[in-house]
Symmetry: C2
Subunit: 207 residues, 2 copies
DNA sequence: ACCACTATAGACAAGTCGGTCTACCTCTGT
DNA sequence: ACAGAGGTAGACCGACTTGTCTATAGTGGT
């Protein structure tokens, strides 16, 4: 990839994360990237294309950071816990790879582009699938029952989203830590919860 | 309150929730509200003031809906579970008072106005405090230890945020149901989790 | 009857938006 | 030497933004 193209993506990503996508104009991006407007439009046909490029770039950064945070633990269970220690670092601006915390770029972008048909929304959706797949990889190491594994994976992903959102909206920088006991509970005593999940499914069919 | 003022707030809220605040211009609001621009600026000094009025109105609607969803259950524990059944209705467009689901207005608004000094961000923050206080009211009915009660309250709020975010970004309309087993687990076996929370606090101090 | 209020439509100002375009300047490969 | 790619600055376009203003009209209270 060209140097300039990369510079533009990095600058745009930084601005989009800090201020939101709608708030940042093309002129601000080219000023920050120290690049001519023609150069930007040489590499990207539109602001939307640039936005998608920043989402893809952020996805690569985030997934790499996540893999790195999880793979050092001794067991699969500890890897899942380690994810939340990593999130805690992020919230407190200690995750160098992710930069300062301004919430999840993908959640924020999806909030700005709500229509499911929009390419930007689909990018955000895809990122969450990537995250879920990585979590599932670890869960499946100790839980062979696919149904139970899916329940644990979903629960962990929801707790992750909740922690990120709470950190952003409620300014609760300890949200990731508050979740860790629940993760432990989920991993040590998971059988009754699946029973309860089945009960829920039954109840919704009754409705 | 004047009829016109109320009409403007309702129209603006509907548009803001559907499309996001930055995406909706004043002209669109007055067209939807069938009101002259001067009338809007007679009641609201600026778009920001109008936005805050919509946030306050939505807060009133949401808190009323939430109280209503929870107060019918037999026990405090069931009220907390009922909250998630209510969320499930909302996600599936069955909560009449809240309208069709487009994510949490406050999370989305906070994502658009990230600066903590902004009045809009503070409104969102305040709403989450209101929600937390209502949850705490029920938790304190069965958990007298303030530390444990706080942990349970925080956990439930994080699960709520996670479910809403997952429903929006991952298009997972069953997110609220997936959380219910965790709520049950939290309420029936809450002692070990507080121990784990203490362990976390110890570990973070070591860092 | 008259004032103050509430409302209307819509022109207008001043600025920003995404995006196009011209004109010119370096490099690099042949 | 020369072509073409990649780069620069910035003028320009039409559409849109928030917010102000003029001119007009119906209303209720004193």
């Amino acid at each position: 990839m060209s140097d300039k193209k990369h510079t533009i993506i990095v600058a745009a990503l930084q601005l989009f994360i800090q201020k939101g996508i709608h708030c940042v104009g093309i002129n601000e991006v080219i000023k920050e990237a120290k690049v001519a407007k023609k150069t930007l439009y040489h590499y990207f046909p539109s602001k939307e294309a640039l936005t998608i490029a920043t989402l893809e770039y952020r996805d690569a950064i985030f997934m790499s950071w996540m893999r790195n945070s999880m793979q050092q633990a001794k067991s699969a269970e500890e890897s899942l816990e380690a994810l939340f220690w990593g999130l805690n670092d992020w919230f407190n601006n200690k995750a160098v790879a992710l930069g300062n915390f301004h919430g999840c770029f993908f959640i924020n972008a999806a909030a700005e582009y709500k229509e499911q048909s929009s390419a930007i929304n689909q990018c955000c959706h895809q990122h969450k699938i990537n995250v879920k797949n990585l979590v599932a990889l670890y869960v499946e190491k100790f839980e062979t029952d696919p149904q139970k594994a899916l329940f644990i994976t979903d629960s962990i992903c929801i707790l992750k989203e909740g922690a990120i959102t709470s950190a952003l909206v409620q300014h609760d920088l300890t949200a990731a830590l508050k979740v860790i006991p629940l993760i432990k509970l989920l991993l040590t005593q998971r059988l009754p919860s699946v029973g309860a999940a089945r009960e829920c499914e039954t109840r919704i069919k009754e409705k």
